[in-house]
């Protein structure tokens, strides 16, 4: 099977109509996955035996006459999503042996639809960050340039065809930036569209489960499977109330896309040129274009981080060495907390916990947290107003190319990388990152942002814009 040109939809079709079997497909991709993992370090765990067992079960269902929308499709899952029977590390050495007695709702919906989980992908310390440089397993490498990071290990895995669909969390932009860095498509759905049950997120207000793949059809197919109301995640009640405009016809002529002339000026020349070329291509595809501006982008980034720090300090509190983590011998409670938390968290998780504790402390709450909440409201309003004028917004996803593995970057500068992605998370809007070109032979994507629950329109529009997805030339296999 030629995985380089394979899509999930095509693979499922082949399994469903008997051209191949799930077992055959999974066996082949596991071999490929293992070989490439030695070069890319994208997977923390490749679950060979478990995947083959799942594949056999899928074949049995297909043989009995069932048509499964994702029959035999190899899926990778970021290691902050819990899977039944597979260990989940959350990017911490303290969770080497943690196997959750429950599975993430989104993952189980995928497997119910015939998909096969082939492994868990590399991630930053406690899932915090968008470089994987803080991973205890070392960084995942970019298939386009192995001296650079991938941003998202799963995006790299999709780009190198180690898997066909990848499920991962996105808070400030890890999924979208990873898709941009690796030249694939990444969708962050509206908060409430997909149940987050089983996802450990450091910032509950922003952590959302998204999909990465190499075709818009695959994104749509996976979204249909994983979205929907789930009593175990209160945020999905919103989706039940509003429901998506499904099957909305995407005719370019009636869709107005906003173009942020003022924001483009913030970009480096190469990235700016890329945006401008994308604008021309989009116009050529028949879409209407109009200018928009966002005045609160910088404030939105700060508000995002203040709220995310506060939530991180609280969300990570449960890892106190009593039930989780490596509880060593301690003379007293304080020592137990100190020892186990120091083992559980790396530098970034510790830093954000401390920042969050500071931000929520008496006196600081009003000075930082309350102000951030106010900005949050204003940012939502600003996006809503802009989306009154446009159906979709075109925005950059990244400011720079993926960093070199050897590069030491100040954490504040890393936070600033999220300038275009984090505000969209703050506004709670769906966003799709699509590849549009290259800078220095490295892929660069940009975001299409839509109104709440307009994922179908995003995907439809993207399918008319995206040029042919390129395969990283360095990946020989």
């Amino acid at each position: 099977m030629e995985f380089r040109k394979m899509t999930a939809c095509r693979a499922a079709e082949a399994v469903n109509n008997g051209e191949t079997t799930a077992c055959q497909l999974i066996k082949e991709i596991l071999e490929r996955c293992n070989v490439l993992n030695g070069k890319l370090n994208t997977f923390i765990k490749i679950a060979g035996p478990e995947a083959l067992e799942q594949a056999a079960a899928v074949d049995k269902q297909v043989k009995s006459g069932q048509k499964l929308p994702l029959a035999g499709v190899p899926v990778a899952v970021k290691d902050d999503l819990c899977c039944r029977d597979l260990p989940t590390s959350f990017g911490s050495p303290a969770f080497k042996n943690f196997i959750s007695p429950y599975g993430a709702a989104a993952v189980e919906k995928l497997t119910d639809a015939g998909a096969v989980v082939i492994g868990k992908t590399n991630l930053d310390d406690m899932g915090i960050g968008s470089t994987t440089t803080s991973s205890p397993a070392g960084p995942a490498l970019n298939p386009w340039a192995p001296d650079r990071v991938a941003g998202s290990a799963g995006a790299a895995a999709v780009a190198a065809a180690q898997c066909l669909i990848f499920l991962e969390s996105d808070s400030g932009g890890a999924l979208r930036q990873g898709a941009s860095h690796c030249g694939v498509i990444g969708l962050r759905p509206t908060m409430g569209r997909v149940s987050r049950y089983g996802l450990h997120t450091f910032a509950s207000s922003f952590g959302q489960i998204g999909i990465t793949a190499s075709s818009t059809d695959d994104i749509l197919a996976a979204l249909e499977v994983i979205s929907g109301f789930d009593a175990r995640d209160a945020s999905t009640a919103l989706y039940r109330e509003k429901s998506a405009e499904k099957n909305a016809a995407v005719e370019p002529e009636i869709i107005k896309i906003g173009y942020p002339t003022a924001i483009i000026a913030l970009l480096a020349p190469d990235h700016r040129n890329l945006m401008e070329r994308a604008r021309e291509d989009i116009e050529a595809s028949g879409f209407q274009l109009t200018d928009f501006k966002l005045d609160l982008l910088a404030e939105a980034l700060r508000a995002y981080y203040i709220i995310a720090f506060a939530e991180t300090s609280s969300n990570l509190s449960r890892f106190d060495g009593i039930r989780f983590g490596m509880a060593d011998y301690a003379e007293n409670l304080d020592e137990l907390y100190y020892k186990s938390r120091r083992l559980t968290f790396g530098q970034e998780a510790s830093r954000r916990s401390i920042f969050g504790t500071f931000i929520l402390s008496q006196g600081n709450y009003d000075r930082y947290y309350r102000q951030a909440l106010k900005i949050w409201t204003l940012v939502r309003r600003e996006f809503t107003a802009v989306l009154d004028q446009c159906d979709l917004l075109l925005m950059p996803a990244v400011r720079t190319l993926p960093q070199l593995v050897t590069e030491q970057i100040d954490f504040c500068r890393l936070y600033e990388e999220d300038l275009f992605c984090a505000p969209v998370s703050l506004a709670g809007l769906p966003s799709l990152c699509l590849p549009v070109g290259e800078v220095d032979q490295l892929p660069v994507g940009l975001q299409l942002v839509g109104r709440p629950f307009s994922e179908e329109m995003l995907i439809g529009a993207a399918s008319r814009i995206i040029p042919e997805i390129k395969f990283p030339p360095n990946v020989i296999c």
């Binding site: 959750s100 987050r196 049950y197 910032a203 449960r318 106190d320 039930r323 929520l360």
Partner: protein, 477 residues
Amino acid sequence: MEYEVVIGLEVHVELLTKSKLFCCCPNRFVAEPNINTCPGCLGFPGVLPQLNSEAVRHALTASLALNCEIALYSYFDRKNYFYPDIPKGYQLSQFFVPIGSKGFLIIEDDNGKPKTVRIGRVHMEEDAGKLVHAISGNTSLVDYNRAGVPLIEIVTEPDLRSPGESRRYLEQLKGILQYTRVSDCKMEEGSLRCDANVSLRPMGCPDLGSKTELKNMNSFKAVEKSLEHEIKRQRDILRSGKEVITQTLRWDEGSQATIVMRGKLQAHDYRCFTDPELAPIELTEEDVEKARAALPEMADVRAARYVNEYDLPEYDAGVLTSSHGLADYFESCLELYNNPKVTSNWIIGEFTAQLNSTGLEPDQCSFQPKDLVELLLMIDQKLISGKIAKDVLAKAFQRGTSPRLVVEEEGLLQISDQSELEKVIVKVISENPDSVENYRGGKAKSLGFLVGQVMKETEGKANPRLVNELLLKIIGS
């Protein structure tokens, strides 16, 4: 100098719900540790809270019964602190907006006059687990059975002026919460817990003095006693010209004294912020009015009705309505038996004596209203005497059988057969000629002796009124 006592009470009450506040675990006491737990109430990563609507209904009912204003929009906040008995590293509690506020209760002051005690807030929160310290060795264990059990906290303004008022407030509060089926309020079992804030100030002084906090009082009596003890202690300190130190004290039941728990009243910085994982609690005016209409009749209203409708003495009405169980029992009896005063006598007397000696609640014992009515009817039909009936009640209660069965098995049916009684009377007269003479000579007391002898001969089964009548007829008046 004369001092005025200022007391405020904080009462925690466990709600009578089927399941815990944020998961499906049963809300029921079990001795074996960590049985009623799940990934949710153990704080496992990725498991989100699911709000129990039954708990919200109970909190709404309690707030209305305590005359509170209802917040139509409220939510849960996180109180962040580290302790092994809180699995998430924070407690979910309504810190910013309580569901109920500005309520009041009317109690009797020390002079028997009505007095309004203001209730500042009624809010929902989750309970913590329990730490168990091993007797030997240096380990502590945690039992999470109680973690996540729904509580409401009811906080008064500093309106109470004496230990007696405090006790009466608690009794009234307990009555209301039991009447509304919100809680069983068993202080000994911890389903009602009370902390008190006490301070003294010179008579007429508007400012509050330094206060101490009293904890660990596990009965209303202990609350009253510890307050008396603490007031005396503070008064002695102030009279000797010293200052009261703000601190937390623990009531020690053994020594009947307070012990310093925490040197200084630690101003905890809980770093509260609104929980981002739960949806807000939204109530409509209609929900509130529905709950208000469903409120049961309160004890004082019910007692007044008993006086007016059934012509019961105030004492009887007060005792019967002191618990909703007893009052319900009384009313069930009246549906079958139309003599309120007789029913009341038996319930307040023999029935309550049996409840007290077994520790059962009226609805837990097998001696149901139909059994009491059966007993009362047997008395009315002169099948048994009142004296024997007391014995029958005790036996039926203890054996769990019907009173009629007890009467039949023990051959206790009353002798109302005139000819049979006459035989016994003739025998008694012939054996006690002196008494007969004495009676005829004017000593009325002797008649009583003769009646007693007849009762003795018949083992108490003779109908005393009939014996009296026949005796008079035979020995002449």
